[in-house]
């Protein structure tokens, strides 16, 4: 929206902050405050201590963080590979209908509630020969299934924007399809690929509902631990865990966005 008069601009900005701050920013600040607090009887948490963070270092919180990071990186990379592959394959399909069918197939995990995805994986892989029930792999598989849709969708959108002249010219210069893919198409898609990877990573870092149904005792991601802490009433250590999760994810996303700016050519 273009607002030219100075007073009107102030008014628009005031409305924006009035809506934005309470809904988006303040809850995070309250969590940060709670993670440093000793009691919470008034409107805001009070008392100052770093005890909750010291407890985290001594407890198994670092294990949970590593578990979450490994799961999110593995699921993110798997989802990126699968989603990109599917998007490239769908693009070369003849006929709009078959392309739509592939798109719909990949949208399925988004449309189905993640609890249902977790339950169906649990049911499907609880009998030999495919007995994944109770392994860490099933958690990674579940996360992959849930986030592949987003990777597929953003790569599909980027492919649709890519000028076909690039690959046609590369082919006219004698490049085989594989050479065109690795040297022209994927490098041109790189900004979208890193963005998709960041999105998948962030979604996987925060995944709770499907994980709850699947996680084995030795593979306990951070969101599950946060849920457990608040569930048994340890609100302040739960808040400290939440801050760790938030900061880690934000730092990872910032790192990914730096790759993206260096890789964008146009």
């Amino acid at each position: 929206m273009l607002v030219h008069s100075r007073r009107a601009r102030w008014a628009v900005q005031a409305v924006f902050f009035a809506l934005f701050l309470p809904v988006f920013a303040l809850p995070f600040l309250v969590i940060v405050a709670a993670s440093f607090a000793t009691n919470w009887s008034g409107v805001l948490p009070s008392g100052a201590t770093t005890a909750h963070y010291r407890d985290l270092v001594h407890g198994d919180a670092t294990d949970a963080l590593v578990t979450s990071l490994v799961t999110a990186v593995a699921a993110g990379l798997l989802a990126l590979a699968l989603g990109t592959w599917a998007a490239l394959a769908a693009q070369s399909l003849r006929g709009r209908r078959s392309r739509k069918a592939v798109d719909a197939l990949f949208m399925l995990p988004v449309a189905v509630p993640s609890v249902v995805v977790g339950l169906s994986l649990l049911v499907a892989f609880s009998r030999p020969p495919l007995l994944l029930n109770g392994t860490r792999e099933i958690v990674i598989v579940a996360h992959t299934v849930l986030v592949t849709a987003f990777a597929h969708q953003s790569v599909t959108a980027a492919l649709a924007r890519l000028d076909p002249a690039y690959e046609q010219l590369a082919a006219s210069l004698g490049a085989r399809p594989a050479h065109v893919l690795w040297r022209v198409k994927l490098p041109l898609l790189l900004p979208s690929l890193t963005a998709a990877a960041g999105l998948c990573f962030a979604l996987s870092m925060g995944e709770l509902s499907a994980t709850m149904m699947l996680y084995p005792p030795d593979w306990l991601p951070l969101p599950v631990k946060i849920f457990g802490a608040t569930d048994r009433g340890a609100l302040f250590s739960g808040a400290a865990l939440a801050v760790v999760l938030m900061v880690t994810t934000l730092l990872a996303l910032l790192g990914v966005s730096r790759i993206r700016t260096r890789a964008s050519y146009r």
């Binding site: 000028d163 002249a165 690039y166 046609q168 010219l169 590369a170 082919a171 006219s172 210069l173 004698g174 490049a175 085989r176 399809p177 050479h179 065109v180 040297r183 022209v184 490098p187 041109l188 790189l190 050519y265 146009r266």
Partner: protein
């Protein structure tokens, strides 16, 4: 030496035929311009040589070899397109080397060929730049260098100058003509909607309209002796006037008898008289027509005067006038008999 041959090539998307049984031979080393308005099928014809469209019928030959079903990367044609399509993530030298690297040429040969191609297009000083750091004209030079580096027998140019401004365009046109003199063995297929580009550069012009080849000949033939009304109007915006043949070398035009070469046209037949605007003069002369001025355009060196003669428009392009006629003035225009061409009447199909 590789030529190109189209044999009844038809391309259709669903019910929409975009190229209708094109048969055309481009001789080795020849520059053939495919000239036509948008939607005439000229780009589709070029893309069928590159292998980006599959003909529904007909065959395409490059250097005598049937390439109709061959994948684009096996055809060995160089290509330059309107939007350059330089690879934005590669420097200029890597762009030019792309084709040779893709074909796994020896490294020493690649360096030599890249330097040669950049030298030839005057871009040697820009080898380490990225495409986004170059102007449109420079990018197009790099695109030409990239196509030439693989030493193609056939070079396909798809509206290569349409994205450049007028001044750059005439400079690049001269450059392309020079490249053709330096590489006389390279067959060029040049798609354009601009008659000046076609007339300047081409050895022969194929005029296309509505998915069909309408006319083909040297620029001089098409300009001086067009065979169809479409060619006459698209190449050089000729005046086209309906006439009736009244005798040997005589036709009736708007109640006046004028003398033009009638060839073997039968007495009483209807035909179309074609005269170029710059060959029409103001004032009385050998074949004089009388009419009213409907438009006067000043174009710097020339004046373009539109005159309505008995319901038909005649445009005269004359040297800048000292006194311009006013709209509605009654004037006379004339043309020499040998400057007029008689075409078969009606239809643009020829």
């Amino acid at each position: 030496m590789t030529g190109i041959r189209f044999e009844g090539v038809t391309v259709a998307y669903g019910d929409n035929t975009v190229l209708d049984s094109l048969s055309l031979t481009v001789e080795p080393g020849e520059v053939m311009a495919l000239l036509g308005p948008s939607g005439s099928g000229k780009t589709t014809a070029l893309r069928s040589v590159a292998g980006f469209v599959r003909p529904a019928a007909g065959r395409v030959f490059i250097g005598g070899r049937d390439v109709t079903g061959l994948a684009p990367h096996r055809r060995g044609v160089g290509m330059v397109v309107q939007q350059y399509a330089l690879f934005p993530h590669m420097r200029v030298d890597a762009n030019v080397a792309f084709g040779l690297r893709a074909q796994k040429a020896p490294r020493a040969m690649i360096a030599g060929r890249v330097a040669e191609a950049l030298e030839m297009t005057g871009m040697a000083a820009y080898a380490k730049r990225y495409p986004r750091e170059l102007s449109g004209g420079q990018q197009q030079r790099v695109a030409i260098a990239r196509a030439l580096a693989i030493r193609p027998g056939v070079l396909l140019l798809d509206e290569p100058l349409s994205a450049l401004d007028a001044q750059l365009r005439s400079g690049m046109l001269a450059e392309l003509a020079r490249l053709h003199r330096e590489l006389p063995d390279v067959t060029m297929l040049y798609v354009t909607h601009d008659q000046v580009e076609a007339l300047t550069l081409a050895d022969r012009i194929a005029v296309m309209d509505r998915a069909r080849l309408r006319d083909c000949g040297t620029p001089q033939e098409l300009y001086r002796r067009p065979r169809t009304e479409f060619t006459a109007s698209f190449v050089g915006n000729a005046n086209l006037l309906p006439v009736t043949v009244t005798g040997d070398g005589r036709v009736g035009l708007a109640g006046t008898d004028v003398s033009v070469p009638t060839g073997g046209a039968a007495h009483g037949a209807t035909a179309t008289l074609c005269v170029r605007p710059h060959l029409v003069g103001l004032g009385p002369g050998p074949n004089t027509l009388r009419g009213r001025v409907t438009e006067v355009q000043w174009r710097g060196a020339t004046h373009r005067v539109a005159v309505e003669v008995d319901g038909h428009h005649v445009t005269a392009e004359v040297r800048e006038l000292r006194e311009t006629p006013a709209l509605g003035d009654e004037v006379t225009v004339h043309f020499a008999s040998e400057d007029a061409v008689l075409l078969p009447a009606g239809g643009t199909n020829g």
